[in-house]
C-alpha cells in the first residue's frame, strides 16, 4: 500500500467556470521501452503545428526497458519553453508511479489514467478521466505483439479531445514521425488515436479548464534536439575527422552526424567520403585521434560527457601545450562518477576550464539553443584553428537530447578559415619558420602540416618542454617564455570569443548571470519577479569562457549579481571569482539547482525572493 497521505481538500464540483488556454503543462508517465516516445513526440508536434509555442522534456532512466519515464509537454502562449515545475495535466500510464504522480499534483489538475489503476479514489480535488486502454487497443490492433506499442497512441486521441487539439494535426504529425516508408505503422497508430478520441467524445464530460487554441507563433519554425543541431553545425563547419566513444547523453550527436554526413558529404561522382568517422575504443583514443587529425590539418572533433572528459584530461593538456586545434563537445550530465547518466546538469564547468595537470586553461563555448548549437559549432571550429587549441562546446542533456522549437538555421556567411598555416610557397618566400614564435603579437605561432613539400616545413611536436623552434628544452627562460605566451594567447581570445547577450533593466539593482539552458528559466524568472514582486532584474548570458569585458561592466552596474548554476558547488560563480577583484566578487551571489531536472523559473524566483528578503 502507498504510504502517501490523502489530504482533505474541497472537492471539485461540476464544470470549470474559467478556461486556461495555451498555458499549461502535460506530463505523461510511462515505463521506458513501451513506445511512448512516438506518442509524446506526436502530441508535442501537433500542438506546435497549431502555432502554439511548445517544449518537450523527456525524463528517462538509464535503462532499456521497464523503468519509469516522464515526458513533459509545456504549451505557453507567452513563449516560455523552459521546464514548468507544476503539472496541470497528467497522463498516468505507469502503475508503479501513478499514485505518487497523482499525489504530487496541485489541486485542480486533470488526470487521464488507465482505468484499472483506480486513481480517482486517491483525491477528490482533481479531474479524473479513466480510460480502459486494453479494451480500446484490441480492436484497432489485431496483432497482439504490437499492442504494447500502439496502446500509448490512444492517449493522444483522449488528450486531443480533452484539450481541443485538432485531430488533423495529430494525423499530420504521425505522417511526419513515420515518414512515407512507414506508412503502415502511421496508419495503425492513427487508428489508435482515433479510437481514443472517439471514446473520449462519447464518454467524458470535460470538467477541467485546460485547452489549446490555435495561434500563429510557430510559423516557419523547426523542431530539433541540440545534439542534432550541433551535428549540423559540425557538418557545415567542414569537419573532416570525427572520433567518438558512445556515452549518454552525447551519443546521438555523432549518430545524427553520421546520418547527415552519409547523405551530404560524399562526392556525388565518385561516392568517396570527404570525412572519416571512427568509433574509438575509449575516450582516451577518441581525443588522441582528434588531436592527431588536428595536427595533420583536419577540422577534427569528438563528442562526450563528463566521464569522457575525465578520461581525456591527459591528452587535452597535450593539445593545449603542443597547440593543436580540435573541438570537444561535452554534453553534460549529472556527476560525479557515473552519477545520473540520464539527468541534466552544468557541472563540468570548472573541471573543463582547467582540464589536465600543470597550468592549463581552455576556451569554453556555451550554446543555449539549437540555433546556437549550430552557429557556435561553426564558430568553435573556426576558433580552434585560429588559436590552435582545443575548444570545448559545453551543452547539457536538456539541450542535447530534448526536442526544441527553433528558428531555421542560417547558412554560414563567413568562409572557412584555417588559421596560420604555412604552405610550401609561403616557406619558400620566408625561408623558414619557428613553430611557436609569436610573430604577430597575438600569441599564436605559424604551423605547417605534415606532407608539406618543402625542406623547411618539418618540426617536432612534443608535450615536453619546447622553445619557439619546437626544440626540446628544460631551460628556465624557455619554459617561462612559452608559458607566458600561452597565457597571452588566452588573453587575446577574450576579444574573440562569442560576446554575451546582455539585457539591462534600467532601474534594476540586481542582475543575473547564467550560461546555456539556464537561459529559459532565468528569462521567465525575470518576468515573474517583475510581475509578482515588482523586482527589476537585468540579465547577462555568457556565451564563452574566457569572460569578456562586458561581464565586468555588468557586475559594476548592479548591487547584487545572482550567478545561476546547475551544480552544487557554484562552479560558474567559482570561475568568476578567479577572474575578479574582491570589490566585484563581493557583489556576487549564488543561485544553484542540482536535482538533475531542467531548471525551472519558479526555483530561481523563490530563491531570489528569499535572498532579497521580500
Amino acid at each position: 500500500m502507498s504510504t502517501l497521505e490523502v489530504s482533505p481538500v474541497e472537492p471539485l464540483s461540476g464544470q470549470s467556470s474559467h478556461s486556461v488556454i495555451n498555458d499549461f503543462s502535460i506530463q505523461v508517465a510511462t515505463v521506458n521501452g513501451s513506445g511512448s516516445q512516438t506518442a509524446n513526440s506526436v502530441l508535442m508536434r501537433a500542438i506546435f503545428q497549431m502555432g502554439i509555442p511548445v517544449s518537450g522534456k523527456n525524463m528517462f532512466p538509464s535503462n532499456i526497458a521497464g523503468l519509469p519515464t516522464w515526458f513533459t509537454i509545456r504549451a505557453s502562449k507567452h513563449g516560455y519553453i523552459g521546464r514548468r515545475k507544476e503539472v496541470d495535466f497528467l497522463v498516468a500510464m505507469n502503475p508503479e508511479t501513478a499514485r505518487e504522480d497523482v499525489m504530487k499534483l496541485d489541486s485542480g489538475a486533470a488526470v487521464v489514467y488507465d482505468a484499472p489503476l483506480k486513481l480517482s479514489e486517491l483525491r477528490s480535488d482533481l479531474h479524473f478521466y479513466p480510460v480502459p486502454f486494453d479494451k480500446l487497443v484490441a480492436p484497432v490492433c489485431p496483432d497482439a505483439k504490437l499492442r504494447k506499442l500502439v496502446r500509448n497512441m490512444i492517449y493522444d486521441g483522449i488528450v486531443s479531445w480533452l484539450l481541443a487539439i485538432e485531430m488533423e494535426e495529430i494525423q499530420r504529425a504521425l505522417v511526419k514521425q513515420f515518414g512515407k516508408r512507414k506508412a503502415k505503422a502511421a496508419e495503425l497508430n492513427w487508428g489508435a488515436a482515433k479510437a481514443g478520441f472517439e471514446y473520449a467524445a462519447k464518454t467524458f464530460t470535460k470538467t477541467d479548464p485546460f485547452r489549446v487554441e490555435r495561434m500563429n507563433e510557430t510559423a516557419g519554425k523547426i523542431i530539433i534536439d541540440g545534439n542534432s543541431a550541433c551535428a549540423l553545425g559540425a557538418m557545415f563547419a567542414g569537419v573532416t575527422v570525427v572520433t567518438w566513444y558512445p556515452i549518454t547523453p552525447s551519443s546521438s550527436l555523432v549518430e545524427s552526424l553520421i546520418g547527415y554526413m552519409k547523405r551530404f558529404r560524399h562526392d556525388p561522382e565518385t561516392g568517396k567520403a570527404t570525412y572519416a568517422i571512427v568509433q574509438a575504443e575509449d575516450e582516451l583514443a577518441s581525443i588522441g585521434m582528434a588531436l592527431g587529425a588536428g595536427w595533420a590539418g583536419a577540422r577534427s572533433m569528438t563528442s562526450t560527457a563528463g566521464p569522457g572528459i575525465s578520461l581525456m584530461s591527459e591528452f587535452i593538456g597535450l593539445g593545449y601545450y603542443a597547440e593543436i586545434p580540435t573541438v570537444v563537445y561535452d554534453v553534460e550530465r549529472v556527476g560525479p562518477s557515473t552519477g545520473l547518466p540520464t539527468r541534466t546538469a552544468q557541472s563540468d564547468i570548472l573541471f573543463t576550464a582547467f582540464l589536465s595537470h600543470g597550468d592549463t586553461k581552455h576556451p569554453l563555448f556555451f550554446p543555449c539553443s539549437p540555433e546556437e548549437c549550430f552557429s557556435m559549432s561553426i564558430d568553435a571550429f573556426q576558433f580552434a584553428e585560429k588559436f590552435q587549441t582545443p575548444v570545448f562546446v559545453m551543452t547539457d542533456l536538456d539541450l542535447g537530447m530534448n526536442n526544441w522549437m527553433a528558428d531555421p538555421f542560417e547558412y554560414p556567411e563567413t568562409p572557412i578559415q584555417r588559421g596560420k598555416v604555412l604552405d610550401a610557397e609561403d616557406l619558400e618566400k620566408l625561408g623558414g619558420f619557428a613553430r611557436y614564435k609569436d610573430v604577430d603579437g597575438d600569441g599564436v605561432g605559424y604551423r605547417t602540416l605534415p606532407g608539406t613539400n618543402h625542406p623547411a616545413a618539418s618540426y617536432f611536436t612534443r608535450g615536453s618542454g619546447h622553445n619557439d623552434k619546437a626544440q626540446y628544452t628544460e631551460r628556465e627562460d624557455d619554459y617561462i617564455n612559452n608559458m607566458d605566451r600561452l597565457a597571452h594567447k588566452f588573453e587575446v581570445m577574450r576579444q574573440h570569443v562569442p560576446a554575451p547577450v546582455v539585457r539591462i533593466a534600467e532601474k534594476a539593482r540586481i542582475g543575473f548571470v547564467a550560461v546555456g539552458t539556464s537561459d529559459y528559466a532565468v528569462r521567465e524568472s525575470c518576468d515573474q519577479l517583475k510581475n509578482e514582486y515588482d523586482i527589476d532584474a537585468s540579465y547577462l548570458r555568457l556565451k564563452a569562457f574566457p569572460f569578456t569585458e562586458q561581464l565586468t561592466g555588468f557586475i559594476r552596474r548592479h548591487d547584487r549579481v545572482y550567478v545561476v548554476d546547475q551544480n552544487r558547488d557554484a562552479q560558474l560563480l567559482g570561475l568568476m571569482r578567479l577572474e575578479f577583484d574582491p570589490e566585484l566578487i563581493a557583489r556576487l551571489r549564488s543561485v544553484r539547482y542540482y536535482g538533475g531536472l531542467p531548471l525551472d523559473a519558479r526555483t530561481i524566483t523563490d530563491e531570489i525572493v528569499r535572498q532579497e528578503g521580500k
Binding site: 573532416t240 613539400n453 618539418s458
Partner: protein, 347 residues
C-alpha cells in the same frame, strides 16, 4: 676565380637526396643503446629506397624509445605524444592525410603495459603504418623497472626477480590479426634492414618487435634482453632480402628453399629458409612456433607473418584519394540548398 678542382660529387639516392637529408638531431640516448642502431637502420632504409622525407610522419609515445624519432628523418614531421597512446595520434593523423607514410617508434612499456589497449586496436584496424617496438624489457627513463615483456625469471640489475610471464608482442599481434609481423635484433643490421624496407612497402600495419638491449639497466647476466643473451639464444628463421620495385627481379631466379613475397608497390621480400621449415603466410604455424620457441628459450627472429590481402582501415572508410584534411570548402561545406532541405524536413 679559383681554378681548384670541384669537390667529388656527393653520394645521392635515386631522388637526388644525400643520406644527411634522412638524419635527425644528435641522439641523447646512452652510448651503445640498441635504439640508436635502430634509428640508423631507419635512416638507411628510407635513404636507400628514396622515400621523400616530407611524405613521412613520425610518431612515438613516451620513454627512451619514444625519444628516438627526433634522431632520424629530420625533414619529416614528428609527433611525440603521451605515454602508451601513440596509436591514437597516428590514427588521427593518417585519417586526416592518407598520403602520409606513418612510422611509429615505441617501447615495451609504452606498448605492452600502458599502451596495450591502443596497440591492440591499432592492430585490429590494420592502420597502414610501421610500428617498431624497441624492446628491452625495462623502463629505462625511470631507471630500470621491469616491463611486461621481461621474461619470467629474469632479474633486474638490483637482483629483483621477475615472477610474471611476459607478453610476446609478436604473438599478440598475430592473434589480433596483424598483417605483417617480424622480430629482429638491434645488432642484426642486414635482417633489420630487410624487415624495415619490407614494412615501408607493406600496405597495412607492420609490427616489428626489435630486441634492443638497454646498456645501462638491462644488459647484465640475468637479463634476457642483453647483447650476450641474444648472442646465445637468437634463432634466425630466414635469410631475408628486400628487392625494390625499381630493380629487375627477373635476373635472379629463386632456387629451391626460396620464397618470394610480392608487395603491393611491386617490390619483393625474398625469404631463404634456414634450418627450420616455416611458411610465413601461415598464421597458425607462426603462433605455434613462437609458443615452442618460448619453451626452448629461443628468441626467433625474422619475418613471422605477412599477409598482403587484408584491406587497411583507410580503405574500409572509402575516403577521398586526396588528404581530407585540406579539401577545399566546396567539398566540405554543403551548399545552402542542403541546409534548406534539412530545415524543411524539421518543420
Amino acid at each position: 676565380m679559383s681554378t681548384t678542382a670541384p669537390p667529388p660529387p656527393k653520394k645521392v639516392n635515386r631522388i637526388g637526396l644525400e643520406v644527411l637529408n634522412y638524419k635527425g638531431s644528435k641522439t641523447t640516448l646512452c652510448a651503445g643503446c640498441g635504439h640508436n642502431s635502430i634509428s640508423e637502420r631507419i635512416v638507411e632504409c628510407f635513404y636507400e629506397l628514396g622515400v621523400e622525407p616530407y611524405t613521412v610522419a613520425k610518431f612515438s609515445g613516451i620513454g627512451c624509445s619514444s625519444k628516438s624519432p627526433a634522431y632520424f628523418l629530420g625533414l619529416s614531421h614528428g609527433f611525440n605524444g603521451v605515454h602508451g597512446r601513440m596509436p591514437a595520434i597516428a590514427t588521427g593523423a593518417l585519417l586526416a592525410n592518407r598520403t602520409l607514410k606513418g612510422i611509429g617508434v615505441t617501447g615495451d612499456g609504452d606498448t605492452a603495459s600502458i599502451g596495450i589497449g591502443q596497440f591492440m586496436h591499432l592492430v585490429r584496424r590494420n592502420l597502414p603504418m610501421i610500428y617498431i617496438i624497441e624492446d628491452n624489457g625495462v623502463y629505462g627513463l625511470t631507471k630500470g623497472q621491469f616491463s611486461a615483456t621481461a621474461d619470467l625469471g629474469s632479474t633486474l640489475k638490483t637482483g629483483v626477480h621477475n615472477d610474471l610471464p611476459p607478453f610476446d608482442c609478436c604473438a599478440l599481434a598475430l592473434k589480433w590479426g596483424a598483417t605483417f609481423v617480424a622480430r629482429s635484433f638491434s645488432g642484426d643490421k642486414k635482417q633489420l634492414q630487410a624487415i624495415i624496407k619490407t614494412a615501408i612497402s607493406h600496405q597495412g600495419l607492420s609490427v616489428i618487435d626489435v630486441v634492443s638491449p638497454c646498456v645501462t639497466f638491462n644488459d647484465h647476466e640475468g637479463s634476457t634482453k642483453s647483447y650476450s643473451y641474444m648472442k646465445e639464444h637468437e634463432f634466425m628463421l630466414q635469410e631475408l632480402d628486400y628487392v625494390p620495385s625499381y630493380e629487375d627481379i627477373s635476373v635472379e631466379i629463386p632456387e629451391g628453399g626460396v620464397m618470394d613475397v610480392p608487395m603491393h608497390d611491386g617490390s619483393h621480400l625474398r625469404i631463404r629458409k634456414l634450418d627450420r621449415d616455416f611458411d610465413p603466410t601461415d598464421r597458425f604455424a607462426a603462433l605455434k612456433m613462437l609458443e615452442e620457441a618460448e619453451k626452448k628459450h629461443e628468441v626467433l627472429t625474422g619475418v613471422l607473418y605477412v599477409n598482403t590481402n587484408k584491406p587497411t582501415f583507410l580503405e574500409l572508410l572509402n575516403l577521398e584519394e586526396a588528404p581530407i584534411a585540406t579539401l577545399p570548402q566546396s567539398k566540405v561545406r554543403p551548399s545552402k540548398s542542403v541546409l534548406d532541405e534539412v530545415m524543411e524536413e524539421l518543420r
